[in-house]
């Protein structure tokens, strides 16, 4: 039996999905742009190649989510191509530690939302979220372990980075509006009732992994 596409949802549910996807695409563009901007300036050749690979994957995620919008009136290219990246990303963050914590925070917010979408009623959305989560696991590992490498920084510098992470996470959460949007999607039956819990667990798990880093 074929699964319903987003267009098979009610008008209200479809709009709610689109709102969330558009926010997710912006986050992916931001992170992809920062990684791409740094992929010739990282601390080592290994890091540069990893950044290039992650930029490619973030761009792929934005394109895959953009394809789900399925609206002829939407200029999908404008959402997911390089031309729109630099403008929306607000330029390259030229401080390596700050770029890492900012992207980690934004990726964390996006990943938590994808965790919630993994159980979406729409099969394509659920499948793409699941695939993206497989790749995001390594992106988060890269972010967390790179943050750990900042252990040599002074305690004040580490605390400042911790503050930067919390600030970027709050901004990303605000940009995504995932609590409101996911609640709406849950009430419309687009995602299960456990979606919010999946989101919370994802953020909590990452926060636990980072707890000792800022101290």
């Amino acid at each position: 039996m074929s699964q319903p596409s987003p267009n098979a949802l009610s008008v209200e549910a479809n709009q709610a999905v689109r709102d969330l996807l558009a926010s997710l695409i912006e986050i992916k563009q931001f992170v992809g742009f920062q990684y791409a901007s740094w992929c010739t300036s990282g601390p080592s050749i290994e890091a540069d190649i990893a950044l290039a690979g992650m930029a490619q994957e973030e761009s792929g995620h934005a394109a895959a989510l953009g394809a789900l919008l399925e609206d002829p009136s939407t200029d999908k290219d404008a959402l997911v191509t390089w031309a729109s990246w630099s403008e929306k990303a607000g330029g390259m963050i030229d401080d390596w530690p700050l770029m890492i914590v900012t992207c980690l925070a934004r990726d964390a917010a996006a990943t938590a939302t994808l965790e919630a979408l993994k159980g979406a009623r729409d099969a394509r959305l659920a499948q793409r979220a699941t695939k993206m989560l497989q790749e995001e696991r390594f992106h988060l590992m890269f972010g967390v372990e790179t943050v750990r490498s900042f252990a040599a920084l002074s305690p004040k510098a580490r605390r400042d980075l911790g503050d930067g992470y919390q600030r970027a996470l709050a901004e990303a959460e605000n940009q995504l509006g995932s609590i409101d949007k996911l609640s709406r999607l849950a009430s419309l039956g687009v995602v299960g009732a456990d979606a919010m819990e999946a989101r919370r667990k994802s953020l909590e798990n990452l926060s636990r992994r980072l707890n000792d880093v800022w101290a």
Partner: protein
């Protein structure tokens, strides 16, 4: 970068295949070495990939001032 160690990267394509060394990465921890390995050596769809600190391998032939066993036999 300071504080980095070399990690050998091992991978295999199928569950019955032997692991082969596909390269080496330098990283500050095993976890980030694994991420680097995954991104740096993704030219093939590996089934399994792992890293091991280069220092964790013992070889009596690899002493800096001592030639390899084969070289000693031949000389």
């Amino acid at each position: 970068m300071t504080g980095e160690s070399a990690f050998w990267v091992f991978a295999r394509r199928g569950p019955a295949d032997p692991f082969e060394q596909v390269g080496v990465v330098k990283a500050s921890s095993a976890a980030i070495a694994y991420v680097y390995a995954r991104m740096n050596y993704r030219e093939r769809p590996w089934r399994d990939l792992c890293v091991a600190p280069k220092d964790s391998f013992y070889s009596p032939n690899r002493s800096a001032d001592e030639p390899a066993v084969a070289e000693r036999t031949l000389s």
